[in-house]
Symmetry: C2
Subunit: 338 residues, 2 copies
């Protein structure tokens, strides 16, 4: 299993995310151990499939948020390990179900689990990991964190269903889009962060502030993700672009391009995204229209607004190294969109 | 929405299940109300899809178990309402995901939700209901019931994955089959029952006994369900039979017929269940072989053994009307197989 913590090195870490992972290297190791232990099952297919996805890596940004938000207030890291693992299980369950719902072929640069193990197993192992997340929370024994994470789980599912309703729907508004990403992404970032001050027994005000940091960071994170899917520079780095376009997802870049579209352009979007009738050259044309209307820049400006919210929310935290890194993470989250 | 409680009537109720529903009519109404309230969402597709399945009825046997097991010890019925609704949400989520996994077309005599709303929505609304179940448990506020039901959820998912591995696999043993149904069915019956004595603050011994009742009843219930799928008399009542055969499920009737199969019969099962290469007349031939080897009778004898376990477990309960009805329910569960 790949582990996210950076290897001991002399040079400065590459990003605030790596820096956080390095600061919490021992904790991340404990979280990884917790993940491995709790995905065990006598039913061999379960650790096989779960391990396939979890070994594929990923940035482990959500459990890292739980660790950082606990360390920020000098909270009990042993509790944070359990809850960070629960957060990662919820996220992994969501990914497994997402790939079935989107009929995806790849995830983290490999064939996605539904391709390798089938949709059936992906649905059921997702359910298993979701249950395991709740078992971990029960073992932690706090009804407060159980509430925060069960609320988040319901909101994630709502966001995903809403996304289904907006997909291929040209009438989707920017507000709808923000509702979708608030549910499908920001809710878990917010909950992952809120767990920290709960563990560290902070005031409700502090909890709300750290939750708001996670929520705003999650919004920025998803908007930038959606920008990257139309960023030709990414293609040069060997990453796939255009997945959202092919799936007819109504994301920020398309919404901003649509706002300024002329009649002919509207027809193009109606055919490619609305009717999902796509042919060679359509993605290139979409990229041209997105550039013409400054839609990536407008999307990044929106992300930047959430970045400001995240920064403001962090004022509630004590000044320490973790806070500096969480602050740097905001800019990093946004700048990776360029 | 259809409600399971029997309409007020002078004549005796048709079955111990109806009798239980009648005894707890007010409570079942409260549970139905709780279900309706908690499947609400601003995302319209969620109550539409959830309501479609829940309105289709079903026997509500699992939440009824929670109500009965609480009433058995004169426990707090208000808590039982919440937890019974949580049990039904877990069950409904499982049904939604099952129908996607099995690629089913019908459920409770109507087009299944995946046919009407699509697999994508069925997966995601299942996730939503599952989350709602945990929100209800958190609102109840007992870590003990949260543990019982989160453990059950993980076991259910394990059972479903195991079923996937045994499907179309002629090497499946009776033990494998019992593991599958213990996970996919009996675990939730057991948990639904155990919640009652927890609410009523009974001793660990009593909890274990009532849980054992639910476990054994669930085993008998599923074996009989699997018998009914090969029971030609059911067809005369207008019910579909042969679903398990078409899906290549290794259930008790097939396992008992296989045990006594000659070479030619083994070839037949290998083709139809193992390779899932089926043609007209195959189901009829399967029924003939199952009859030839007394496989339905053998299956029902197995169910009867679990019935005895259930009866023995109930000895721990105080003698009252609920206990009499729960006892009668054991025989009813088995006799419906004829």
């Amino acid at each position: 299993m790949t582990s996210v913590q950076a290897k001991p090195q002399q040079s400065a870490p590459a990003s605030p995310l790596d820096e956080l992972a390095e600061m919490r290297a021992g904790d991340m190791e404990a979280v990884n151990e917790m993940i491995l232990t709790h995905m065990r099952s006598d039913v061999a297919l379960i650790p096989q499939l779960a391990g396939y996805l979890i070994a594929a890596g990923g940035k482990r940004i959500r459990p890292l948020m739980t660790l950082a938000a606990t360390a920020l207030f000098d909270g009990d890291m042993t509790r944070a390990h359990k809850l960070a693992a629960a957060v990662e299980f919820i996220h992994t369950a969501t990914l497994l179900h997402d790939d079935v719902v989107d009929d995806s072929n790849t995830r983290r640069g490999k064939d996605s689990a539904n391709i390798v193990f089938g949709n059936e197993a992906s649905v059921l192992v997702g359910d298993f990991l979701f249950s395991r997340a709740f078992q971990l929370m029960v073992a932690d024994g706090s009804l407060e964190t159980l509430k925060v994470l069960s609320d988040a789980s319901a909101i994630i599912a709502e966001g995903e269903v809403l996304q289904l309703s907006t997909q291929n729907n040209l009438d989707t508004t920017l507000e709808d889009y923000l509702d979708v990403i608030s549910g499908k992404t920001a809710a878990l970032f917010a909950a992952a962060c809120e767990v920290g001050p709960i563990i560290a027994d902070q005031t409700p005000q502090t909890r709300t502030a750290i939750r708001a940091y996670g929520q705003a960071l999650g919004m920025a994170f998803q908007i930038v993700d959606d920008v990257l899917d139309y960023n030709a520079a990414q293609e040069k780095l060997g990453k796939t672009i255009g997945d959202d376009f092919r799936e007819g997802k109504m994301t920020a870049p398309v919404l901003f391009a649509l706002q300024k579209a002329n009649a002919e352009e509207k027809e193009f979007w109606a055919r490619t995204i609305g009717a999902r009738d796509q042919k060679d050259g359509d993605l290139e044309n979409a990229l041209t229209l997105i550039q013409k209307h400054d839609a990536l820049e407008k999307s990044l400006n929106l992300a930047r607004k959430y970045g400001q919210d995240a920064r403001a929310a962090l004022a509630a935290a004590p000044d320490n190294e973790t806070k500096s890194t969480l602050t740097a993470l905001i800019d990093f989250t946004i700048e990776r969109g360029y």
